[in-house]
Symmetry: C4
Subunit: 202 residues, 4 copies
């Protein structure tokens, strides 16, 4: 199977999730800057989740670009990832509407942790489907970020019981780690793309 | 006509349906694990419907991958399937908000049954368009799962009048049957893909 | 410009519109068949709008399949059509929530009429961009359905002031006219597709 | 990296934003023309935002059509643009529900201004990735519209504190400037498309 429709479907789901969260944003009750400022925590929670979904879309994009065929197992590993991502708007709303209370903040981290584990599972399923010496393996490399993230999420979940803002700080830290560009991956992909059939669709 | 846009449109609709259900999830009223646990039946109903829509997307993906051209009749048979699938969020919400009451649980099964019949209709319309000895026919084979599912849905609808959880059990059983991978189909498709023009886009 | 992104964007908007309407469906207040039956007019209005958006998607699909390049004017004519279609969920909700009252029923017809005129405008913009003797012109032919529909919509709008159900009957009639397959168009398109470069993407 | 998935994801997000706004439209409380007229400001605000998102989609379409490869930086610059666009439904609802009050009208302009700056950033990121003498540079030309828009938005934001309708007038003016076709860009793109590999997918 080609990767085309898996990419298209994942793009669709992530695009919808990222915009569905806008619907959770309550219009400020009064037409004043003060009323808007009162919504600031909600807007910042939205921003964090937007960045997270953006990171997942980016990484998904990179990973799928390095493979050419997918198996039935990949389709399900992908849907599994999308399931945990689909809960992001839910925990974002819970966390921000309760004013970043302890339990919802921890729950936010748990969903992020499970999404990260689902991403690793998808990566491994893809690697198994490509064989040992694939372009994907070269592109992924040691995958330090992928290994450190679940640890930081777990720390964040624990910290949110000490002080909610420490938990959030841990989640923001993971997002920042992923935002830093990873030139090595791009170089590998860029080179591989040039070796390939220039007619390769999409 | 090529299959590209039919796939893209179906991907779009199913992707939206799968995520629109998240909007039905009510944020727990209090920031406690207990309040989250109270939402557990709703979350499990969401999970079941997510899996069902995932199965339909998967099967749709496999089926369309085995055909190269579609007719006007196929477009309508496809829209007919999407109509019944579009009612899944509606019956999911009704079933879970009423605490899995008898009638909504039966209604959930009825929508699943009608979607299954619509899928069979789409399959037959595609087969007719491809001619007798097509790759699609080989890929589908005896289609045991497709024949057994409507029977199990009907049993589930009946059982939900005896005890709601028996009905749900039947629906879960059908989902599990479809989750088991079907290696034979993938093999046929894999082989066919290799025989094909490598330049074929998407 | 290629037609690819115009098709993808239109597919996206129509797919969202068709599913956004599901969100308008209120879950019946009680878990009884009677409560579901009370929602029947709303469900039937949803069905009618679903069929209409399906017809537009179908016709859009056919029309764009017969052209290979689009101009800037086409992009705007297309957005203009999508604007009127985007009001379909709005008037559907208004019409069905007021129990098919006179003014909302007429408003529903007005939106359908404006969408039909927008479709004609898009068709003419496409024809102008393709030149006089194009494949699109052959595919469209005399376009009897396209000429009769605005008249029937206007009649329906008028009739809805006499009796709402007469107006609805007119709208249902137009839908039925479009549901009848138009084999001649498909034949022209099928033949043209075979004459074309087989490597044509999407 | 190819532009395919960036286009598909952006199409998805903009398509959802443009239709999500329909959900903000409250169904008139009574089935009368008067009740519909009362919703007119809301509908006009929706129309303005629809046109703006349409303009962004159009310009995005043109710009991406003139490049063939994207870098990691482009992906993030693109997500940055989508973030500001995703706030359009939020400020549209705030502005129209408060009857075009001062602060929300200014906030609407601020979001438009930030989206315009994000678009310029995306353009510059793309230009840097393509090298100095690219087709994109030729297509963009002096980019007068892109330079004048932020100034007009700023004027509009200021004017909305004098009289709200002056602010809105400035925003409408910018929209009109962009609606006027820009034949020069299309010519450049048209010519370039003909020089290209005709097999290039999507």
């Amino acid at each position: 199977m080609r990767t085309g429709r898996v990419e298209a479907f994942s793009d669709g789901v992530i695009a919808i999730l990222i915009t569905v969260m806008v619907l959770e944003l309550h219009v400020p009750s009064e037409p004043t800057w003060k009323a808007l400022t009162a919504e600031l925590p909600v807007l910042l929670a939205y921003l964090l989740s937007f960045v997270y979904l953006g990171i997942y879309w980016n990484n998904h994009h990179h990973m799928l670009a390095a493979v050419s065929r997918v198996s039935g197992g990949v389709l399900w590993a992908n849907l599994h990832l999308l399931f945990w991502l689909s809960l992001v708007p839910f925990v974002t709303a819970w966390m921000s509407e309760t004013g970043f209370a302890t339990v919802p903040t921890a729950a936010y981290g748990i969903v992020l942790l499970l999404a990260a584990l689902a991403f690793t599972l998808l990566k491994n399923t893809l690697l198994r489907a490509q064989g040992g010496d694939s372009r994907l393996r070269t592109a992924i490399g040691r995958d330090l970020k992928g290994k450190v993230s679940p640890i930081l999420y777990t720390v964040g979940i624990g910290l949110s019981f000490v002080a909610e803002w420490l938990g959030i700080a841990a989640y923001v830290l993971v997002a920042l780690i992923w935002l830093v560009p990873d030139r090595r991956v791009e170089r590998t992909l860029g080179q591989a793309a040039e070796d390939e059939d220039p007619v390769r669709s999409r």
